[in-house]
């Protein structure tokens, strides 16, 4: 792998940037792999990377029907945090957070991971109880998390209207200083480049049309473009399309796919240097390095694979933003879009074996997928390598929806379902 550095840039500048290597190959698929990963988003690519790096398994294909990182990786609001309520979720997301710290160096790719802190605002007394509960749980789980009062919030975000005369005044917040944002596309590209360098085949424009099973075990996938690819183990990491893949394998998942919308303003001069989220008035916002205000909207209530949602959701979100930041009223929305989020009833993911042997699913991340990317890939790689769930993944079995051991993270998931 060609090493990236400032010096390298200078060197290439002298040759008019004509000699940069490809970031990844365009390999011809082999007929047989140790592991086939369906889905070339951030999680799938991270899985491939850690399979190669941590488990020495490099005979791996990542099969992607579109382009790498083209799903929710390309469409989220890039927030990274680990202040989840329940132990199981908090430990998983904190595992991811620790991997984020140092990931740019690990991948030799600048992911622009910026730990500028995340505020989760409270506007009612019950919000504040929930914040205290979460902050205390986070703290005892070893996660940096602080409860702030109104004054504390105002000091961090002077431009927010924290006055008592708002409809739902800001009563306080939880604050995770290590949280922040990362450049979403770079995450996919960085993992892809590093996985490719270790021999993983990244096969784009290759759509899986069936999961091939023999005697109750998965043995490969059939693809539209490259026929049958055989694999000893198959890992599906296809987010919103999980239900479609599960159907191919003959079972259902406790997952429904919903539109989740987001939007950006036109770029403006830097004015907001942290991430502000409000569950109650329902909007979240940060400012990108380009200057756009990046704003997350709510989940639409209906199932949808259209990568778009309904307009009132956008209206409600901007009403919330203008309520929190009346000074942004004259700023303009440049673009809106939608992703397909695979939501579980308890707002926690599934990292699990399935009714089909050798077939594993990593899905159901809902609104929490991006922030978990390295952690998700890391534990899923271990799960695929060993054929059984990684310790941190165990609570996230799909079978918890049979025995009732749900992990209800709706409060902390950031977007009310």
């Amino acid at each position: 792998m060609q090493k990236y550095s400032g010096f390298g840039l200078l060197k290439h500048a002298l040759t008019y940037h004509e000699n940069w290597q490809r970031v990844w190959r365009n390999p011809k698929p082999k007929r047989k792999y140790d592991v086939i990963i369906v889905g070339g988003g951030g999680h799938g690519l991270a899985t491939a990377y850690y399979l190669a790096k941590e488990h020495g398994i490099t005979n791996v294909a990542v099969v992607e029907k579109g382009y790498l990182g083209g799903g929710n990786t390309a469409r989220n609001t890039t927030i990274v945090r680990s202040n989840y309520l329940w132990d199981e979720a908090a430990l998983l997301y904190e595992h991811a957070m620790k991997l984020w710290e140092g990931l740019s160096q690990d991948l030799n790719y600048n992911l622009m991971f910026s730990q500028r802190g995340v505020l989760n605002l409270g506007h009612t007394l019950q919000d504040m109880r929930d914040i205290q509960r979460r902050v205390n749980a986070n703290r005892l789980n070893g996660i940096d998390s602080v409860a702030l009062d109104t004054q504390g919030v105002q000091e961090i975000v002077p431009i927010m209207d924290c006055s008592a005369n708002r409809r739902y005044p800001v009563l306080g917040a939880s604050w995770q200083p290590r949280a922040g944002v990362a450049r979403h596309d770079a995450v996919a590209w960085g993992f892809a480049r590093a996985a490719d360098a270790m021999g993983v085949d990244l096969i784009q424009q290759c759509e899986v049309t069936d999961i091939i099973t023999e005697d109750g075990a998965a043995v490969g996938v059939e693809t539209k473009q490259h026929g049958v690819l055989r694999g000893d183990r198959i890992g599906c990491v296809v987010a919103g399309n999980s239900g479609v893949l599960a159907k191919m394998a003959g079972f259902e998942l406790p997952v429904e796919s919903h539109p989740l919308q987001a939007l950006v303003s036109e770029p403006i001069r830097p004015i907001l240097d942290t991430v502000v989220m409000s569950n109650h008035v329902h909007g979240y916002i940060s400012q990108s390095d380009k200057g756009d205000l990046v704003i997350g909207a709510g989940i639409d209530g209906y199932n949808g694979y259209g990568q778009r949602g309904s307009y009132p959701t956008i209206e409600h979100t901007l009403q919330a933003i203008v309520e929190m930041f009346p000074i942004f009223s004259r700023v303009r929305m440049n673009r809106q879009w939608g992703g397909i989020v695979d939501t579980c009833p308890d707002a926690c993911p599934i990292i699990s074996d399935t009714p089909v042997d050798n077939l594993f699913f990593n899905c159901g991340w809902g609104t929490g997928g991006f922030k978990a990317t390295p952690g998700s890939g890391h534990v899923f790689a271990a799960t695929l390598a060993k054929g059984k769930a990684h310790e941190l993944a165990k609570p996230f079995s799909m079978f918890r929806f049979h025995n009732g051991a749900l992990i209800d993270e709706h409060g902390a998931a950031g977007v009310a379902h």
């Binding site: 400032g6 579109g66 109880r129 005892l140 770029p267 403006i268 001069r269 390095d289 009346p326 004259r330």
Partner: protein, 1006 residues
């Protein structure tokens, strides 16, 4: 300053109305009818900004929504600062103040510009991914500097002084774009009687007809335009919306139109008048007549001020009477753009040459050029512009017939304006918003709208039909079709005929080849605002970013505020060529709303400030306000939280309220509790199915507490339901849960058990409910009623009676959430305040004390009563709460929740269970949310046992009390657990029962 580029006559400006405006600190003059851009060009302002990455001087390129450079900060005051206004779309008004949004420290010499030249070569696309990584901690520092360069304009620092509103529109036919096709469509549709909306982003309707030069049926086009608009204005079934951009096309023909109502008048809107309006339109049929954007050609240094779109030059001349230069070189791939050279010449300025990229182009247009004495170089191209802050020359070279190579030797044409046309790209944006993929058409040399499930038609240039006659005819016929489809009888309107010179075939050329490779040629800009060059796109594909989405994301092409209207097609063509694909194979990125940016305020509408969300009030609200209550938001309700007396702290007020209630009598406004009237012979059976406990034998006149669970067995609401009659019940729910519970009940009734004869209606707002609680409650009530026998043995705990209280018919429920002797008085809400005030009149001698939700919480916690949503969180079932007494397992019907709470995980013995907790130090009130551990010294992550759900100082018990969840708590009574707090302190607490006061319940039974 003089308007050196203003023509002495012509244009659609009003010379009788000169306007003064400011740009970059300088004062200029323009005329009514000018855009800010045309006024600047009239004044000879060349450099209007600096580019984002390379800090190169930039000028105005276009005349409409596709302008990437002339993006300014507007606003004369702090509160009216408006970032990123496109000068080509901003009408000039008197006193307009504008600033460039880039170019620090100033436009003509800037430090960053110098750095840009030097560092420019260091900054290929994606450079930031490849560096700034070491050391790890340094990114924060790098980022600070990168962020300094970010953004265009700035946000105001003060709240907006203007208002915005919404208007919900329903129409039979919405026509987007009032150019020739749209106008013709509107005529056909309007005459049918259909409801028609015609929206256009410009101040004046007419589209290309405004740019002059056309004749229709031998008359100037302006005459037909005027007659058409006059006719349309006469119909009351037609709504004309100028200055209104259709920005988003959403599902089921829902479209949003952003109308700028006052931006052309001044800095801020007049009083009571919205600055901008969002029309939320539901259209039966939509006719897209959005036209097309001219494509510039990509060549070296094509970003120099003076490099413009050919059609924009014509627009400035014809519409605004501004010639943006003296010596023009026109480069074109098509006949149509010749018009610009003719306009230029007609304006009295010199056309140096028309450089036509086609070999041997010959036809009517070339004939006309020759007749006018204009030099035409066919088979040639401008490969590079020369100049520093303005074009000074065009380097012209021969071009191979396929457009792939620059041939032969160069000549330099001296000029100050270089207009180009690479043909026209249909404005397919709206048709793509709903997920329809556009289709590349080699004939059109552009994308046209693809298949859609929307009820949508496309007329004119957006469909790839660029001729004026085609546009008029297709508009007329599709306008009629849309009206017909919407259920009207419509005929295509007769349209006039334009005299058009026949056009010969255009050439598909996007990037003009230079003698040098693109990587070494002078920068050939594709996307000006994001500084993306042809070389950058080629580099991206070389590095393996082969999907057009990857190219876009890696280079940032199309991410500007113009969303790539000018450059995207060129960029795709360059990527396709680099990948050795057709444009069709490469495809396009997805167009998303908005077509042009929309003000946040306009999207929010009036739902802000006082109207952000309803505030719900009870009938006694005014009294609470008058008596100094602090309020708590519960759902949308404003509930009294506590009533501090002057000088009291919150805790002092709570202590006083608590003591007064337990010692004498207190009063709570409980009107916000949800109330559902249930009638029907199966009401009792229905209750038995939705509550966990038994209802079969509850006698008339009695009340009962019930728990409601979801199918998973987890508690989601609770409340008291009273039997009003054998077939009549009144259910109460939590304040926040009211609407959800009613919908839940309806869901089961309508979808699962429609055979049950029961009707449910909300009566939450109908009844005002006031709870008097305390040992003197009976005495107080007895003074206000003479027809209810309050005898303790006649009107028992959990009974209800009907009678008169303070002269008002009332239902009185002897139920208690405080554990005191307590009556809930319900009267029709119009009389609530009267009864409330009467209670105080009579209650003074008992020191009747109003208490709010906080005291209610304390008093109920003393009794161990739960609050659904506070002591439960959706993961707690009745057994976890120690409320097995409220679960009747042997009901014949398997009630909702029964099966759920029997699942494997739900019957574990070590679940988190609700217990009471007493701190060993009675003075310490544990924070709600504190987490318990068995060993406070264990390493993190600690094994947590559960959290405090409710915690208070109890003035009655003179100590703190708490409830919380503890793993296996029901079997651990007497154990000590530890709460490590945020401040480092560890609080010890003993697990106990949840009832802290009057465990036998004697106080409520007196």
């Amino acid at each position: 300053m003089t308007q050196s580029n203003r023509l002495p006559r012509g244009g659609r400006i009003d010379r009788s109305r000169p306007l003064t405006f400011k740009f970059n600190g300088q004062t200029y003059q323009g005329f009514a009818g000018d855009s800010l851009a045309s006024a600047l060009l009239a004044n000879g302002v060349d450099v209007i900004g600096r580019s984002f990455k390379y800090s190169r001087p930039r000028g105005i390129i276009a005349a409409g929504a596709e302008e990437p450079n002339a993006v300014f900060q507007l606003g004369a005051t702090e509160a009216t600062q408006t970032p990123n206004v496109r000068a080509t779309q901003q009408e000039l008004f008197d006193g307009l103040v504008s600033q460039p949004t880039s170019g620090w420290p100033n436009l003509n010499f800037d430090f960053m510009g110098l750095m840009g030249t030097i560092l420019g070569r260091m900054l290929p696309p994606g450079f930031y991914y490849k560096t700034f990584m070491f050391p790890q901690a340094a990114w924060d520092t790098y980022e600070k500097y990168i962020r300094k360069a970010a953004g265009l304009g700035r946000s105001p620092r003060e709240p907006d002084v203007d208002i915005y509103d919404h208007l919900n529109q329903h129409t039979d036919v919405l026509i987007v774009g009032a150019g020739p096709a749209g106008l013709a469509a509107a005529l056909s549709a309007a005459r049918s009687g259909a409801r028609v909306i015609l929206a256009d982003e410009q101040a004046e309707m007419g589209g290309s007809l405004l740019d002059g030069g056309y004749t229709l049926d031998g008359q100037p086009a302006a005459e037909w335009l005027k007659a058409t608009l006059d006719e349309l204005a006469r119909y009351d079934n037609v709504l004309l919306l100028p200055r209104s951009t259709v920005n988003g096309y959403h599902d089921h023909n829902f479209l949003t139109i952003h109308e700028r109502r006052t931006d052309h008048i001044g800095d801020r809107a007049p009083a009571n008048h919205s600055r901008q309006r969002l029309h939320r339109v539901r259209a039966k049929w939509v006719v897209l007549a959005t036209g097309a954007h001219e494509r510039p050609l990509v060549y070296g240094n094509n970003d120099l001020p003076g490099c413009m779109l050919a059609s924009a030059v014509s627009t400035y001349i014809n519409r605004y009477a501004v010639v943006p230069g003296n010596r023009l070189v026109l480069m074109t791939t098509n006949d149509n753009a010749y018009r610009t050279a003719f306009d230029w010449q007609d304006a009295g300025r010199e056309v140096v040459a028309i450089v036509d990229t086609r070999q041997g182009a010959a036809g009517a247009w070339q004939e006309e050029a020759r007749r006018r004495g204009i030099k035409v170089l066919t088979g040639h191209a401008v490969i590079e512009a020369r100049g520093r802050k303005r074009v000074q020359g065009a380097v012209v070279s021969g071009l191979s017939p396929d457009g792939s190579q620059a041939l032969g030797s160069d000549q330099v044409l001296v000029c100050d304006t270089l207009a180009t046309s690479g043909g026209w790209s249909p404005a397919v944006h709206l048709s793509c918003h709903t997920g329809s993929r556009p289709i590349w058409d080699d004939e059109v040399i552009g994308f046209v709208p693809g298949k859609t499930v929307q009820k949508q038609l496309a007329a004119g240039a957006v469909a790839g039909r660029f001729g004026l006659n085609e546009c008029l005819e297709e508009g007329a016929s599709l306008g009629a079709l849309a009206a017909t489809n919407a259920g009207f009888t419509a005929e295509p309107a007769a349209v006039p005929t334009a005299e058009c010179r026949p056009e010969t075939r255009p050439m598909a050329l996007f990037c003009v080849p230079h003698h040098k490779r693109n990587s070494r040629a002078p920068k050939q800009f594709v996307d000006f605002q994001t500084d993306v060059t042809a070389a950058a796109i080629e580099l991206a594909t070389r590095e393996g970013f082969e999907s057009i989405e990857h190219v876009k994301r890696y280079t940032a092409m199309g991410f500007g505020t113009d969303q790539g209207k000018l450059g995207n097609i060129n960029g795709m063509a360059i990527a396709a060529k680099s990948l050795n694909q057709t444009i069709s194979e490469t495809g396009t990125t997805i167009f998303r709303p908005n077509y042009t940016p929309v003000t946040f305020g306009a999207i929010a509408g009036r739902h802000c400030n006082d109207l952000f969300d309803p505030m719900r009030y009870t009938a006694m609200h005014e009294w609470h306000v008058k008596h100094g209550a602090k309020f708590e938001d519960v759902g949308q309700w404003k509930r009294p939280w506590y009533y501090p007396k002057p000088g009291e702290t919150m805790q002092q007020a709570l202590n006083r309220e608590c003591l007064a209630t337990r010692d004498s009598v207190g009063i709570l406004d409980a009107s916000t509790l949800g109330k559902i009237d249930i009638q029907g012979k199966d009401a009792r059976e229905f209750l038995g199915r939705v509550y966990t406990n038994a209802w079969a034998k509850l006698p008339v006149g009695k009340c009962r507490y019930g728990l409601m669970c979801r199918e998973d067995g987890m508690v989601f609401d609770d409340g008291v339901t009273s039997c009003l009659g054998e077939n009549h019940f009144l259910m109460t729910t939590t304040t926040g849960g009211a609407a959800g519970v009613l919908e839940w009940l309806e869901l089961y009734h309508q979808t699962e058990w429609p055979e049950l004869e029961v009707y449910m209606n909300t009566v939450t707002d109908h009844w005002a409910t006031m709870t008097i609680a305390g040992p003197n409650a009976r005495k107080l009530l007895s003074e206000l009623t003479d027809d209810i026998d309050l005898d303790r043995d006649t009107f028992k705990f959990m009974d209800w009676r009907q009678g008169t209280v303070a002269g008002v018919p009332a239902r009185v429920f002897r139920i208690s959430f405080t554990g005191e002797l307590s009556y809930e008085i319900n009267v029709q809400a119009h009389y609530g305040l009267h009864v409330w005030e009467k209670l105080f009149e009579h209650g003074a001698k008992y020191d009747l004390t109003p208490y709010g939700t906080e005291t209610m919480h304390i008093l109920r916690a003393e009794k161990g009563f739960i609050i659904a949503g506070q002591d439960t969180d959706g993961s707690v079932h009745p057994y976890d709460l120690g409320m097995s007494w409220a679960v009747k397992e042997d009901k014949p019907f398997s009630f909702i929740g029964k099966r759920g709470m029997k699942r494997e995980d739900c019957v574990r013995t070590d679940r988190k269970q609700l217990v009471g907790l007493k701190t060993l130090d009675p003075g310490i009130v544990l924070p709600e949310g504190a987490q318990a551990v068995d060993d406070p010294n264990q390493p993190k992550p600690m094994k947590m046992l559960g959290h405090i759900t409710s915690s208070y100082y109890s003035a009655n018990l003179e100590r703190s009390i708490a409830m919380g969840l503890i793993r296996n708590g029901h079997n651990r009574e007497g154990d000590i657990v530890y709460y490590p707090l945020e401040n480092g302190r560890v609080v010890e607490a003993e697990i106990c029962g949840t009832i802290f006061l009057d465990p036998k319940g004697e106080r409520q039974n007196v």
